[in-house]
Amino acid sequence: MGNLIVRRVTQMLLIMLTVSLLLFAIFDSDQFREKAAVAELGGFGVATLSADDYHEWLEKKGLNEPFLARYGRWLESVLHGDMGQSIEKDIAVSVLLKESLTNTGILAFFVFLIMIPVSLTLGVLAGMNTGSPLDRVISIVAVLTTSIPQIATAVLLTVILALGLGWVPTKSAMADGWSFRGLVLPLLTLLLYDIGYLVRMTRAAMTEVMASQYIRTAVLKGLPYRRVILRHALRNALIVPVTLIFLELNGLLSQVVVVEVFFQYAGFGRMLFDAANFGDLQVLQAATLVAVCVAVGSQLLSDAAYVFLNPRVRFT
């Protein structure tokens, strides 16, 4: 297993290098520089700037150097811990990154806190009693919730909970300081989809295990049903869902973009979205690299968990 980790980490570093180079090359064009100028000085403003003043502005922002020089400088500063400055928000990228990751981390924490027990329980219950009314209900609800796009859920929840009943604020900008109530809407939007997804996967795994030879043999042999479930079936059925939970980290990073942008929550997804729209290169670089880290890291954790939990794979 140590081998696996080393190989993956090396690959991850290689990928990060490639990705950062690609990004730099892509966003280093004239088109993006003008886009950044327009975003800061305004359309009317850029039209009136003389050519000299425009180049001076570019110089001031450090946008005028040749590509490789800028990339080299950026690489060096990153290795020393300085990830540059956001031209849009005018603060250090590392500060912005830390705050937005913390915020998204808080959201992710609550999502996992609620999602894991709820979906595993429901999935196991459904899988144990395949074909029963309980299973039918759970399955139908699960497939329904995974078919509704999160944007629709977000708007509907806003209409009902925030404006209709007034229980929670409409947007999660946390203007009056942090409060859990502001987190409720994004949390529910994420949970509704994620719980459904995990329930389906858990149910499928549980069904497969319950139908397998050795469980049926154990039941026929007369072992008490509950002991059978708890000691044998669960252990094997939960392998796949646990690995999926690690992969959820990666999936969450995707879902969180939409949710944070709609609810104006100052998290990682919103930071990335704003940076991409504005052409804020340094922020975009840092954010993309973090995203790649999380993605590869979650895949690694998932694979490691699978190897660890699955005795057949572990000992071959």
């Binding site: 497939v143 796009p149 708007v155 990666n250 879902q255 975009l284 993309t288 790649v292």
Partner: protein
């Protein structure tokens, strides 16, 4: 059985795609383009009902998808109001103004919701199916090359796909669309970038596995060209899992297109689109009494995605039972 299905699918997909993407260039021909597609949808539906009748889940799924397909191809021939014409803002469903019945009400700019929903279905289906098909073509192609030819081909393709797979999907979409600009064609590229690597891995695995099989070695002994072997011998044997995966992927792609349009990165206004309808309702119609502006497109897109998901579930169930 197979060739019938392929012909029917082609009769539906080509006219619909041409209609949506190139309507302005076609002129008067556009009015007749979709006529052959309508009976094709119905025949395809009947065929699906017959071959999948054991799984009621698949039946419900294919009914939903066929309903929307029918709406999409029949849209020009239905008695609908112009979907882009502002008439009466904020009219409740069932209202009648200027002698026109607004069955599902009108939106904040006065356009008929029912008409926009039916017309919006065309865009979602065409871009979604096209994007997924291109992703499959690219992914399967790369997978076959990597699995069958091996060596440096395999290394290169695998590394490229690992790079693409290291991005969370939405991050990849945002980067690609911001770079290339927002349009339907760029969505195809973005979806390909995110889906093709996974497909490539699946096909590569299957190709590696099949390479050692007898019938492949027999073909090699016969002296068949590698490309022929790949397409004619290998591909048909992996049909089953691919259809299930395709159906699921169509669902994901539909969600992605709708979400991207909602964020302003996807298909552009003014033509009707479900993601756009939800977005406009999310700013102007947050009251319960106007929520129909949001609920109608949300229900529509959810039912379409549900259809894809149910087809996938039903087929999987059927294959497990065999």
């Amino acid at each position: 059985m197979n060739s019938r299905v392929v012909i029917l699918l082609a009769l539906i997909w080509f006219p619909l795609t041409a209609y949506v993407m190139f309507r302005s260039a076609l002129g008067a021909l556009a009015n007749y383009l979709l006529l052959p597609a309508i009976p094709s949808v119905i025949v395809l539906y009947v065929l699906a009902l017959r071959s999948w009748r054991e799984s009621w889940v698949a039946i419900v799924g294919v009914s939903l998808v066929s309903f929307w397909l029918l709406m999409a191809v029949a849209a020009p021939y239905l008695p609908l109001v112009d979907p882009n014409k502002p008439l009466v803002p904020f009219l409740a469903p069932g209202g009648v103004r200027h002698g026109i019945l607004f069955l599902l009400g009108s939106d904040m700019r006065g356009r008929d919701v029912l008409s926009r929903t039916v017309w919006g279905c065309q865009r979602v289906l065409v871009w979604g199916i096209t994007a997924t098909s291109v992703a499959y073509a690219v992914g399967a192609g790369c997978g076959l090359i990597a699995g069958y030819l091996g060596g440096w081909w395999d290394e290169f393709v695998s590394f490229a796909s690992n790079v693409l797979l290291s991005f969370p999907v939405m991050v990849l979409f945002i980067l690609v669309l911001n770079l290339l600009g927002q349009s339907g064609f760029n969505i195809i590229i973005a979806v390909t970038c995110s889906s093709a690597p996974v497909i490539m891995r699946i096909v590569r695995g299957l190709a590696l596995d099949a390479k050692s099989r007898d019938y492949i070695q027999a073909a090699q002994t016969r002296g068949e060209h590698p490309l022929w072997i790949m397409l004619v011998e290998l591909l048909p044997n992996v049909r089953g899992p691919i259809i299930v995966d395709a159906s699921l992927r169509l669902g994901y792609t539909t969600v992605a297109i709708t979400t991207l349009t909602f964020l302003g990165l996807g298909l552009q206004p003014p033509d009707p689109d479900w993601g756009l309808m939800i977005k406009e309702a999310a700013t102007a119609a947050l009251l319960w009494k106007y929520s129909y502006m949001m609920i109608v497109p949300a229900l529509s897109v959810s039912s379409l995605i549900l259809g894809f998901n149910l087809i996938a579930d039903g087929l999987r169930e059927m294959s497990l039972r065999d």
